[in-house]
C-alpha cells in the first residue's frame, strides 16, 4: 500500500518542523523558477534539469539524515543540494559557472558537490552513480561508523545494469544504503510503461531480497516517515531498502525540452499539479490550525529574499580565472 499522510492527524508539537519542510520545498520551488528564468536569459548554460514538482522527495528524505550521512544524486539535484544545506548562493553561482559556486564553476547544474555536507554529486550518466552510493556505504561499514548513504535516481535508471549490480551487492554485503527512486513517470520523453516490463519499481527489490517501500512522493510527511524507517534499518542493521516515491515533474526533462507535447498532454500535467506537494502540506497545516495566511506569506517572503540574494550573488560573482582550466585535474 502507498504510504500517505493525507488523512493523518498532524502533531502540534511538530509545528516548527512542518514549517521548515514547507520552507525548504518553497525554497526549491522559487529557486528553480528563478533558475529557469535565468536559463531563458542565457545566464545559465548547458543542460539544466529543474526539480519543480518533486520537492517533497528530497526535502522529506534529507530531513531524516544526520551530519555524517552521505547523499549521492543524479543530475536533477539542485533540490537535494539545497535540502542538504548547501547555500542557495553557492548552488546558483554554480549554475552560473562562477567561482563561488559549490564546484567552483567546473561542475555546473549536473555536478553539484559539497564535501562539507557529504553531498557527493551531482552525476550526469543515468544510473552510473548508483554503485558509488554502495561504495560510500561500503566505506562506512568498513570503518565501523554508523553513517548511512542515501542515493536518489529516476525511474528510468532502474533498467540499467548498474542499478541491478548495485542492489545485488548492497543486499549481499548488507550495506547501509537507502535507494530512493523518484518515479516521475518519464525518462526524458519515454513513459515508464513504454520502457519497463515491470511498472512497480519497488517490486524489483524482491529480486535482491531487499526491503521495499512505496510512498506518495508528493506527500513530504509520508516521504519522511518512509525514509526514517529505511535509514533506521540501514543504520541499525546494515539493511538496504529500495523506496519508490511516486512524484511528477512539472517542467520538461531539461530546460531545452518542451513541457508537454508528444509524450504527455497538457491535461495530464494540470491534473498532476492538483497533487502539488507544497500546496498539499500548506493545506494540511491550515486545516490543522498550524499555519495561517500570514504565516505562509512570511515563509514565502523569506524564501524569495534568499533566492533574490542568491541571484545577485551569482550575477556579481567572478568567473574562474583562466588558470583554473588546468587546476584540479590531478590531486597531489
Amino acid at each position: 500500500m502507498t504510504e500517505s499522510t493525507q488523512t493523518a492527524t498532524l502533531d502540534a508539537a511538530q509545528r516548527d518542523f512542518y514549517h521548515d519542510l514547507l520552507r525548504q520545498m518553497l525554497l526549491i520551488r522559487v529557486f528553480e523558477e528563478q533558475a529557469g528564468a535565468a536559463y531563458a536569459q542565457g545566464k545559465i548554460g548547458g543542460f539544466c534539469h529543474l526539480y519543480i514538482g518533486q520537492e517533497a522527495v528530497a526535502v522529506g528524505a534529507i530531513a531524516t539524515l544526520a551530519e555524517q550521512d552521505t547523499i549521492i544524486a543524479a543530475y536533477r539535484e539542485h533540490g537535494h543540494a539545497l535540502a542538504r544545506g548547501t547555500s542557495a548562493r553557492s548552488v546558483m553561482a554554480e549554475l552560473y559557472g562562477k567561482l563561488g559556486g559549490c564546484s567552483k564553476g567546473k561542475g555546473g547544474s549536473m555536478h553539484l558537490f559539497d564535501a562539507s555536507t557529504n553531498f557527493l554529486g551531482g552525476h550526469g550518466i543515468v544510473g552510473s552513480h548508483i554503485p558509488l552510493a554502495a561504495g560510500t556505504a561500503f566505506a562506512a561499514r568498513y570503518r565501523e561508523t554508523d553513517a548511512v548513504t542515501v542515493c536518489f535516481f529516476g525511474e528510468a535508471a532502474v533498467n540499467i545494469g548498474a542499478f541491478h549490480e548495485t542492489l545485488n551487492m548492497a543486499a549481499l554485503w548488507k550495506l547501509p544504503v537507502v535507494f530512493i527512486c523518484e518515479n516521475n513517470r518519464y525518462g526524458m520523453g519515454t513513459a515508464m510503461e513504454r520502457a519497463s516490463a515491470v511498472w512497480n519499481v519497488y517490486e524489483r527489490a524482491c529480486s535482491y531480497d531487499m526491503d521495499e517501500e512505496l510512498v506518495d512522493g508528493m506527500d513530504v510527511l509520508a516521504v519522511h516517515n518512509v525514509v526514517t524507517r529505511a535509514v533506521a534499518r540501514a543504520r541499525e542493521r546494515g539493511e538496504p531498502t529500495l523506496i519508490e516515491a511516486r512524484t511528477y515533474r512539472y517542467m520538461g526533462h531539461s530546460m531545452a525540452d518542451p513541457i508537454h507535447g508528444h509524450y504527455r498532454t497538457k491535461e495530464e500535467l494540470e491534473e498532476q499539479k492538483e497533487r502539488d506537494p507544497i500546496e498539499g502540506l500548506r493545506s494540511q497545516l491550515v486545516d490543522a490550525d498550524l499555519l495561517d495566511e500570514d504565516g505562509f506569506a512570511t515563509i514565502r517572503a523569506a524564501v524569495e529574499k534568499e533566492v533574490q540574494d542568491a541571484l545577485t550573488f551569482a550575477e556579481q560573482d567572478a568567473d574562474p580565472p583562466p588558470e583554473d582550466l588546468y587546476t584540479s585535474v590531478y590531486s597531489d
Binding site: 564546484s103 561542475g107 558509488l132 560510500t136 545485488n168 549481499l172
Partner: protein
Amino acid sequence: MGVITYRDALNQALRDEMERDPDVFLMGEEVGVYQGAYKVSRGLLEAFGDRRVVDTPIAELGFAGVGVGAAMAGLRPIIEFMTWNFALLAIDQVVNSAAKMYYMSGGQVPVPVVFRGPGGSALQLAAQHSQAFESWYAHIPGLKVVAPATPYDAKGLLKSSIRNNNPVVFIEGEMLYNTKGEVPEGEYTVPLGKADIKREGTDVTVVCHSKTVSVALKAAERLAEEMDVSTEVVDLRTIRPLDVDTITQSITKTNRCVIVEEGWPFCGVGAQVVDDVQRLAFDHLDAPLIRVTGADVPMPYNKHLERAAKPNPDKVIAAVRQVAYLD
C-alpha cells in the same frame, strides 16, 4: 635481494601496502577464497580477512563503482579486474566517475583508487581476451596509466600507485606473471612518470613498455652481437604521465628511434611518442620514427597467425635496421 616472479612482486606490494595503511583493501573477482585468478592475491585473505580482501560477483561495472565510491569516502581501494578485457564493462566508472570526480567537484573529492589486472595477449586466447588498452586510458585526463615490465618495477610502481591520490590504471602483463627478477625485500618505491633505461646504447633508441621490453632487449642483444648496432632500450613504465624528457635525451644521443607496443597502431601509445619527439627533438632526428605494433586486426586464434600479429624481436630488428639505413 631475492629473485622472485612478477606475480610475487605484485603480491609483496599488496601485502606491504595493506600492512602499512588500514584504509587499503582489495576487491575483485576471485581475489579471496580462490587466491586470485592469476594468484597475485595468494595468501592475502588469510593474512587480512574478508573485510579487506573482498570477493565480488561478476559485475565489473558495479564493483568498480563501489571502489570509486569507497575512494570518494576516503578509503584506498585496489580494484582487481580479472583481465582488462572484462574491464570494458566498467569503463564508465573508470572514465566518467573516477577520472572526472576531482575536477568536476572543483577539487573537493579526490579518488585514490587503483584499478589493476592483466592486459595484452597471452597464448591463443583469441580476439576478446588479447587486447592492450593502455592508449585508451592514457587518453583520459585525470587518470594515471602504469604498465610495468619487470618484477622490481611491478612492486615499486604498485606501491606508488596505491599511495597516489589519483585513480591509477595499472596494467600488468599477462605473460609476465611467471618472469623472474631481483626484488629487494625491504621498502622501496618506483616513482610514477619516470621511464627507465633498461639497456644503454648509442645508435638507436627503442621505446617500449610492459611485455615489449623483453622483446626489445632480445632484439638489442642480437643487434649488438650479430650486427654491431648499439641499442638503447627505454622502458616507459608509466604511460601517463609520459616521461618525454628521458625519451628525448636518449634520442639526442642516438638520433634514431623505434617505438614498440603490443596495442593497435591507430592512436596508439607510439603515436603520442612520435608527436612529442617530432616537436621536441626534430633537429636531432636522422631518420623518420618507425613503430612496431600489434597488427591492426582482432587477435586471431591460430598460433601462426597470432605470432604474426604480435611484435617480436625480428620485427624490432628490421625496424632498427630501417631507421639506421642499414638495408
